[in-house]
Amino acid sequence: MALRLSLLMIVAALFALSVLIGPAGLSLGDTLRALLLGQGEAATLVMREIRLPRAILAVLVGASLGLSGAAMQGFLRNPLAEPGLIGVSGSAALGAVIVLQAGLAATWWLALPLAALTGALLSVLLILLLAGPRGSSLTLILAGIAISALAGAMTTLVLNLSPNPFAASEVVFWMMGSLSDRSFDHVWIALPFMMIGWALLLSLGRPLDVLTLGEDAAATMGVATGRVRMVLVLGIASCVGAATAVAGAIGFVGLVVPHILRPFVGARPSALLWASALGGAAMVLAADLAVRLVLPDRDLKLGVLMAIIGAPFFLHLIYKTRGELR
């Protein structure tokens, strides 16, 4: 409980910073007056239409990715499982890019999140199929590499074939993710799917706890692995699909956050789910702030920063688990 409260306070503090800091160079008083009272036409537009949706999206995307990572690791009992690393985000991006270029996203607002969700869904199913129920590290990572590479190549192909002169350069966005210049349009597109995903994944707390005892023990306690797996797949696809549809593929959040928080919650996956959602929100808020502070005018990609932070963690985890990697 104390952990959850302190995480909430960190998220709140980072959210406030995220709303207050930006290139427009507004004073603290101006930002608050514009945000809360709507004083100052330009400042109000900046606060309510640019910074607020960006901060909200950082929370939503971070929570979704953190939660997905924790749930996937809990189910596979494998600390290397992470939607970004094993190609789920990349496949979601491919789905999003296809409907965007086909023009469907412009005619029906649900097309974009649904396509990203479908991409994510197919890749999670494929990975679970390839890696098997226990998810041995080696097959999981190898399957993930193959799916990542394929999704990345197909995304690049679709963008290269686009008649739009700007599309080809946007491979970077789809592979690295960014929250710059997002608006409330994007919040409303992603939110419903994320809420469904959160509800599904958070409902897995007890089954995941029981599963730590092993599948046979879980079965005697009335936990149906098949049903858990289905809920997990749908929940991760909703979360990762919605997040990727609006912010591109942001990796490592689901890897780093549960890894940091695991010592604080003991080995209970149920507690880790909540903590990772909050921790993910804090992490993406912090990363998005860093992106704006380090190179304010260059639209540094969020995924680049996450990779710089996350890759050492990943390597450390591989080093620690290398005994099992065979």
Partner: protein
């Protein structure tokens, strides 16, 4: 704004009349959208063999119909060489490998600089007349350009500010043709007024803080891109609705040709309705 409308029709008055001079090149190929237009305005019948494929794209080219009377090329050295040209027209930023290869093959390539102001337009028109052997036609095009420009010269009075806003939050600084088009139409450039003089990407927040009287958005291309999504960002949508935002055809802005006067005329029209 009858004058503006008249100009919209009058601008492409093709000045072609004289037969080519004796030593003028007889087989000319253009591989750049802007040299395409200048060449089509002045070349004698049959002198210009081929223009770039972009000249056929109505989004980028104001002379699609005229382009249809020429063969199209894709700027590839092999296809251009096969046309056996005695002169190739290119821009300074045309692919240097293609240009280099054509020169190695013994083809004369003339490269035209980018026009960043109206003097640049005049000198490129005269240069085109010179290399095509159509000097008299070029002088007529310049004279017509100056007459039309003078007719559009804005009366003194309020000069509303306009924001040039392209995909990826790019904006044009004071060394751009777009900037000169704004000035010629009696507007001021919102970004240069605020001290942002270099062209490039400016954070959306800073652009919104300028509260321009007019937002001129880049023209959306087919397909989709995140770069262009920002043109429809809600923060700008508010400004655009209130301020009769305009999307102006790239075709009239990208090349320094007499067609920029169409852009000027449209802006004058918008300014007078504000």
């Amino acid at each position: 704004m009858a004058l503006g409308v008249a100009l919209l029709c009058a601008a492409p008055a093709v000045a072609r009349a004289d037969g080519p001079a004796a030593d003028a090149p007889a087989r000319v190929v253009s591989m750049n959208l802007c040299t395409d237009q200048l060449a089509m305005l002045m070349a004698a019948d049959g002198q210009l063999l081929s223009v770039s494929h972009i000249a056929f794209d109505p989004l980028a080219s104001p002379m699609v119909e005229e382009a249809g009377r020429h063969a199209r090329n894709h700027g590839q050295a092999e296809e251009i060489f096969a046309m056996q040209p005695d002169l190739v027209l290119a821009g300074v930023y045309s692919d240097p490998y293609t240009v280099g290869l054509l020169r190695r093959l013994g083809v004369e390539v003339v490269q035209f600089p980018l026009e960043t102001d109206f003097d640049g337009i005049r000198s490129n028109i005269l240069k085109m007349g010179d290399v095509l052997g159509q000097e008299a036609a070029a002088r007529r095009v310049v004279a017509q350009f100056d007459t039309d420009l003078a007719a559009l010269r804005p009366a003194d009075g309020a000069r509303p500010s306009a924001l040039l806003h392209y995909a990826n939050n790019y904006t044009s600084g004071d060394k751009s043709l777009a900037h000169q088009i704004l000035l010629a139409a009696g507007l001021v450039n919102a970004t240069t007024e605020a001290g942002i003089t270099a062209a490039g990407s400016v954070p959306l927040e800073r652009l919104v803080m300028l509260l321009p009287d007019l937002v001129i958005s880049g023209q959306p291309y087919p397909g989709a891109s995140r770069a262009e999504e920002v043109l429809r960002h809600p923060a700008l949508r508010d400004l655009q609705q209130r301020q009769s935002g305009a999307t102006l055809a790239d075709a009239e802005w990208v090349c320094g040709t007499p067609f920029v006067l169409r852009a000027v005329a449209r802006l004058v029209d918008i300014r007078e309705r504000m």
